[in-house]
Amino acid sequence: MKLRKLLKKLNDYLNEDEKQLQDKDDGLSSVLKKLKIKEMDIQHKIEIEMDEDERKFLEQELKIVHSQREKGIHLLSEMRGRKNVQKPEEQNPA
């Protein structure tokens, strides 16, 4: 186990760019998960909200969260696409 950890660290060190991309990927995925939970939470709140103004506000917030998720998913897929393009290049530099 320890050896595997050490090897991972060594790999990270040698592939700094790749690690950065992986960190970004992890960050985006984690935030997207949170946004999904938030979206569901707002949806639930809208269903039970009686006050008209407050419901309107929540609906707006829902739209915002939805747009943010769309943007996040787009960014993530773009990044993963780039990653996939990079890999074969690395394997066949010629």
Binding site: L28, V31, I64, K71, G72
Partner: protein, 602 residues
């Protein structure tokens, strides 16, 4: 206890002064003279402040940057103005306004001491008498006219003229007040021989000059007494030495209304004149021989005491300069040590220390924490600037009730609070940021925190602009304008409360992204407000002036809210750095918010 004492001191002083005025009209004239004189000093400082950073500062810097230059500056200006006191007080105001440093100021004052001795030479040699006091009244009139001008430089010049006018007017009143005491000076009564006599006459010279506010007047008395053989020649010289020391009273008075820099200069002036006086008394016989020698050389008559006194005056001031100039560095050090600035009232950084600079993470965390302090202080200023209480602003009390509770405008000096609680911390943050390791300086995190600081400053500027009209209109009889300004206050409170909630982690932990909803509300409100405003003006519920103010202030409130959101966006951070970065990547841009807004409108 000290607070109670402080409260008692001022009324006691006022009561004693009032009683004194009632007892003696002379005392009243003297006190009024001192007051006018100090007012003149304030006006003079105000005037010179208008020229800071401009050509006057450049000229002063260039003409005083070397010791010989500052000495010559003092000699030449005093020769032209024929008043060392005036040159001293002007130098004090230069120093207080930050136009020159202490050592340059001391150079000028030393030079002024020598320059003042040229008066007698001018009178004797060319029959030329410069009486700058004669211009006091016209200066006052021109000064006041110039003060009413809107151009900054003209206004500054006006303050300088008026200040000079008031200085002379003050001196005039002091002289008038002391006139009654003048009769009591009978020099013959004090005739004592040897060194005790010299010191006694020097002291009399000091007292006479303080009383008459003029070393020239003392010299006239000395010459008269000498001609009437009431005093010996040596005693006359001692009197002249005393007059030279006594003349510093004007500078000391001038320094009363000045800051520590001015007081340090007045202290230096006094030390110079006292030391020079001591040296002159100790070596009086050598000086006497020197005077006789020079007098014989230039052909001054044996009994021409006016010119002989002038020679003596020049000689011992020259000796004073020769003694004191090499010690000027030490004198500066001593004065700065003895006369210190009052303990700083300004906020001191709590997190920015040397050890925080050791690592990238600690440096960033220190800057973030210090910025949070600035933000916390800014909240207090925002609350007071909006005529609210901070605790109410953050409470759970319905906003309408908070507004009702604070329906009266609050007198609050926002500039002073900014100087005290924000500026020094902000300055320290900027300086610290330049010292962090280079790789940190270019990091997203640090650049966001720096932006957060700029956002805070913009918020405070906005509140300052808003405060002026807001304080007027929340007390207005016109309910429409009052409501509009209260609506602006409500909106800001609502946003601050919401940001506080998001920041305190009560919301799901995507803090940065939670701000986008607020941005949307802000844009939406701006559109609604503009429509309502047009309606109000069209229906004549508010005047055109009110409308203009409201449009401007709505823009300020928009900027305040926008920057408040931005501060939070730049300061909030998720547990992991990658997540914070991801949140900033996902956060919606202005045009994306606008398209959500457009969708809503459909």
């Amino acid at each position: 206890m000290t607070n109670v004492l402080r409260k008692i001191v001022l009324p006691t002083i006022l009561a004693i002064l009032a009683y004194g005025f009632w007892l003696s009209p002379d005392f009243k004239a003297i006190a009024a003279g001192v007051a006018i004189f100090l007012f003149g000093m304030l006006a003079l400082e105000e005037g010179f402040r208008a020229f800071t950073g401009g050509s006057l500062e450049q000229i002063l810097k260039r003409s005083t940057n070397r010791l010989w230059k500052s000495l010559s500056f003092g000699i030449v200006t005093t020769t032209i103005m024929q008043s060392s006191s005036l040159v001293s007080v002007i130098t004090i105001s230069f120093l207080s306004a930050g136009l020159i440093g202490l050592s340059e100021g001391l150079g000028i004052v030393f030079g002024a001491n020598l320059g003042t001795t040229t008066g007698a030479w001018l009178v004797a040699g060319f029959g030329l008498k410069v009486n700058i006091a004669a211009y006091a009244m016209p200066m006052l009139v021109f000064g006041v006219i110039l003060i009413f001008q809107s151009a900054k430089k003209l206004k500054g010049l006006g303050y300088i003229f008026a200040g000079l006018g008031f200085l002379f007017l003050g001196i005039h009143y002091m002289k008038e007040g002391f006139e009654a005491f003048r009769e009591t000076i009978n020099l013959a009564e004090y005739a004592v021989s040897g060194y005790p006599g010299l010191f006694l006459f020097a002291l009399i010279g000091v007292a006479a000059t303080v009383i008459m506010q003029s070393s020239h007047a003392t010299l006239v008395i000395i010459i008269t007494a000498l001609a009437a053989q009431q005093i010996t020649y040596e005693n006359a010289l001692a009197l002249a030495i005393g007059a030279n020391v006594g003349t510093t009273i004007t500078a000391i008075l001038g320094a009363l209304g000045s800051n520590e820099k001015g007081r340090q200069l007045a202290g230096g002036h006094l030390i110079f004149n006292v030391v020079t006086g001591f040296v002159a008394i100790l070596f009086i016989h050598q000086f006497k021989s020197g005077v006789d020698f020079i007098s014989a050389m230039v052909g001054i008559g044996e009994s021409d005491y006016t010119l002989k006194l002038a020679v003596f005056h020049t000689l011992f001031n020259l000796a004073g300069i020769l003694i004191m100039v090499p010690l000027i560095g030490r004198l500066v050090h001593f004065l700065e040590k003895v006369i210190r600035a009052a303990p700083s009232q300004f906020a001191v950084p709590a997190y920015l220390n040397e050890s925080a600079l050791a690592f990238a993470d600690t440096a960033i965390e220190a800057v973030r924490n210090e910025t949070l302090r600035v933000y916390d202080n800014a909240h207090e200023i925002i609350a007071r600037g909006l005529s609210l209480g901070r605790s109410d602003m953050f409470s759970e009390i319905p906003i309408e009730d908070v507004i009702k509770r604070h329906s009266r405008a609050l007198a609050f000096d926002l500039d002073a609070a900014y100087e005290r609680d924000i500026k020094s911390l902000y300055g320290a943050i900027i300086t610290f940021c330049t010292r962090v390791p280079v790789e940190v300086q270019s990091s997203h995190e640090l650049s966001r925190i720096r932006t957060a600081n700029q956002n805070i400053i913009t918020v405070l500027k906005g509140v300052k602009h808003l405060q002026k009209n807001m304080n007027e209109y929340i007390n207005s009889d016109n309910a429409y304008i009052r409501d509009e300004y209260n609506r602006i206050r409500s909106r800001i409170i609502r946003v601050i409360r919401r940001l506080d909630k998001i920041g305190s982690g009560n919301e799901p932990d995507v803090a940065v992204l939670s701000l986008d909803a607020l941005k949307l509300t802000l844009e939406e409100n701006a559109t609604i407000l503009n429509e309502r405003l047009e309606r109000l003006i069209r229906s004549h519920h508010i005047t055109a002036d009110m409308g203009v103010s409201l449009i401007n202030d709505s823009n300020y409130s928009y900027e305040i809210i926008r920057n408040l959101i931005s501060v939070s966006s730049n300061l909030f951070h998720a547990g992991a750095r990658a997540e914070t970065e991801a949140e900033h990547m996902i956060a919606l841009e202005d045009h994306e918010i606008s398209s959500v807004l457009e969708e809503n409108a459909k």
